[in-house]
């Protein structure tokens, strides 16, 4: 199971980084999303996937190794929540950039165009 998850995580990282290097804002956002999902899967794989029982201990005499480690899942849960919030913000920001620049091509959104009005795309 771990090798499969490792490959999935690797593919997600590669796709995410590739999309982030593209010119369109939408691809940047999707890339960020894939990247954060990739790191979630990486945490799951790195901590080890086991067939152990849930860590709800009723009989204290059982050995600790029999139970699954709940920490990676709580880490992933936290990371998902944070990632969701941040991604939602990035989406709104990208939308506003796209509306004010009239394009979602990074090259058309010049950094030095304070005076330029939204109707006139920056030549740079």
């Amino acid at each position: 199971m771990e090798p499969l998850l490792a490959v999935v995580a690797g593919v997600l990282y590669a796709t995410g980084l590739y999309l982030m290097l593209r010119r369109r804002l939408a691809q940047l956002i999707i890339g960020l999303g894939l990247l954060s999902n990739g790191s979630n899967i990486l945490i799951l794989a790195a901590a080890g996937v086991t067939r152990s029982t849930p860590p709800l201990i009723q009989d204290p005499s059982l050995p600790a190794s029999q139970f699954a480690d709940p920490v990676p899942q709580s880490l992933i849960l936290t990371a998902i929540v944070i990632g969701f919030g941040v991604l939602a913000f990035a989406l709104v920001l990208a939308h506003r950039v796209q509306r004010s620049a009239g394009s979602d091509d990074i090259d058309m959104i010049g950094p030095d165009s304070v005076t330029a009005s939204p109707e006139q795309p920056d030549p740079a």
């Binding site: 995410g16 982030m20 804002l25 940047l28 960020l32 990247l35 954060s36 990739g38 790191s39 990486l42 945490i43 794989a45 790195a46 901590a47 080890g48 480690d69 920490v71 990676p72 880490l75 936290t78 990371a79 944070i82 919030g85 941040v86 913000f89 990035a90 920001l93 990208a94 506003r96 950039v97 004010s100 620049a101 959104i109 010049g110 950094p111 030095d112 165009s113 304070v114 330029a116 939204p118």
Partner: protein, 501 residues
């Protein structure tokens, strides 16, 4: 209980600011009072840490490696005091007027959320919790940066958001791999487990991942491009907040993680860090000399001087780390002051483009003298705080016979003098341009906008006057950072630190 105050106070203030009726003066007073309370709590923590050693709080009374610990050693405590100081200056500067649109969109509470995130990152003793505080502070700063609608500001915010999210992904990856290797996230527990979990290959990969993640946040050489591309657009007070605090959180995290988790000075990561720091110093000042906008000049200088703060970690001796700590403190103070000074220009002339400024010495000699202190302190002209900090950074280099490095540092300082002298000459000394003689641009600067600058300038001078005690504190903080046993004992209890050697 004391350790939670720098986190709870800004949280409570931020919530209160949302609930209060929207009356400008009321909001400003509450925000300012909140910042004063943070400063008070931070000072109390510093006094206690200085007299009684490392302070630890196990949140929710969960014992150490299982729950989240809050830990304040001298380095953390000093930085939290700086958070308080910069918080006070930034909230005070809002009395001079804030863009009403920003104020209506929760400007004050966002500042407190950033302060909360930064204090949390400085105080936490758990690496995943540190990631969470990073995100808290980032989301606050994202919103602060993008509250405006001009294209340049939106574009800058987008660059800033994209690169910082990338850094967060790298950090999360490193944390995941570290957990897989060590099975714990508590700094002290990780430090204790270091000899057993040591696998050279994975260690190298992990340390490089951490270096990349924190390097982006701190603005080190190949990873700094987002910073000058974004820090020149927000209003001066926001610039002061972000420039003073956020990059230093990256430096702090680097120092904390590397001293505890990778205590092998011969590791390749330190060679990389040394090279990156040296190039960062050079690139920053050269970039600054090529710029015409004051805030871009400052952003590049901010990057360049980050190199001074990380070089001490790379050299890995108590003296060099003490130099780094001193430099971080000095730089936080001075760069925030300078961003607030750029706010004076914005207020009076509506621009920070040096070519459009000029003649300010004639109209306002007091302001010119006030601005001179941080400008030349950044450059390291004696006897200002920059000189003390640079001495503490360059001294250990010479003693360790890193002459080339010392030569780079000193050349960079000289070029910074040039860059800062040019700023002063262009902004204050040269004859006013036609643009400046328009009546609109002849407004006088009132006390409300000068007070925060004066407050920080007085502290900068105080830094020089109290150089001895401050240097003593920095030296003790550096010794504490290198005493991993002491940290482990303080967090996990006596008898637990045997394996940490």
């Amino acid at each position: 209980m004391l350790l939670t105050l720098p986190i709870l106070l800004p949280l409570a203030t931020a919530i209160a600011l949302h609930l209060l009726p929207e009356r400008r003066t009321l909001l400003r007073v509450v925000a300012f009072a909140g910042a004063l309370m943070i400063l008070g709590a931070a000072a109390a923590i510093l006094v206690r840490v200085a007299s009684q050693g490392i302070q630890v709080l196990q949140v929710g009374s969960w014992p150490a490696p299982y729950g989240i610990s809050l830990v304040a050693d001298l380095f953390s405590a000093l930085l939290v005091v700086m958070v308080g100081i910069i918080g006070v200056a930034v909230t005070a500067s809002s009395f001079a007027g804030v863009d009403p649109r920003r104020e209506a969109f929760g400007y004050h509470s966002l500042i407190h959320i950033v302060l909360m995130g930064v204090s949390g990152a400085f105080l936490t003793g758990d690496i995943f919790n540190m990631y969470v505080w990073f995100e808290v502070m980032l989301i606050g700063s994202f919103v602060l940066m993008s509250l405006h609608r001009t294209r340049a500001q939106l574009h800058a915010a987008l660059t800033y958001v994209g690169l910082n999210l990338l850094a967060s992904a790298f950090l999360l990856t490193a944390i995941g791999l570290l957990y897989g290797q060590a099975g714990t996230l508590n700094f002290a527990d990780l430090a204790r487990a270091w000899p057993e979990r040591r696998t050279p290959g994975l260690d190298a990969a992990l340390s490089m991942l951490f270096l990349t993640a924190f390097g982006i946040k701190a603005g080190l050489f190949p990873l700094f491009f987002w910073l000058p591309a974004s820090y020149h657009t927000p209003p001066a007070a926001v610039g002061a907040l972000l420039a003073g605090l956020l990059t230093k959180v990256g430096v702090y995290a680097m120092v904390r993680v590397f001293t505890l988790l990778f205590p092998d000075p011969a590791a390749s990561v330190y060679t990389a860090l040394l090279a990156m720091s040296a190039v960062t110093m050079g690139i920053g000042v050269i970039g600054a000399l090529a710029q015409h906008d004051l805030r871009r000049v400052l952003s590049f200088n901010l990057v360049g001087h980050i190199g001074f703060t990380t070089v001490g970690l790379a050299l890995w001796t108590p003296a060099s780390l003490a130099g780094s700590i001193l430099y971080v403190l000095h730089h936080m103070l001075v760069i925030s002051t300078l961003f607030l000074v750029s706010g004076l220009f914005l207020r009076q002339r509506r621009t920070t483009d040096l070519r459009m400024l000029g003649g300010l010495y004639r109209t306002q000699p007091f302001v010119a003298c006030l601005a001179m202190v941080p400008l030349f302190s950044l450059a390291g002209v004696p006897p200002l705080s920059g000189f003390v900090a640079k001495l503490a950074v360059v001294g250990p280099m010479l003693r360790q016979q890193h002459y080339a490095l010392a030569a780079i540092a000193l050349t960079v300082s000289l070029l910074t003098v040039l860059s800062m002298a040019r700023v002063w000459e262009e902004a204050f000394w040269k004859r006013a341009t036609d643009h400046a003689s328009e009546p609109v641009h002849r407004r006088r600067l009132g006390g409300a906008i000068l007070a925060p600058v004066a407050f920080l300038v007085i502290l900068t001078v105080g830094f020089t006057v109290a150089a001895g005690p401050v240097f003593g504190l920095a030296t003790r903080a550096a010794e504490q950072l290198l005493d991993r046993d002491g940290y482990v004992r303080a967090v996990l209890g006596e008898g637990s630190a045997r394996a940490a050697r």
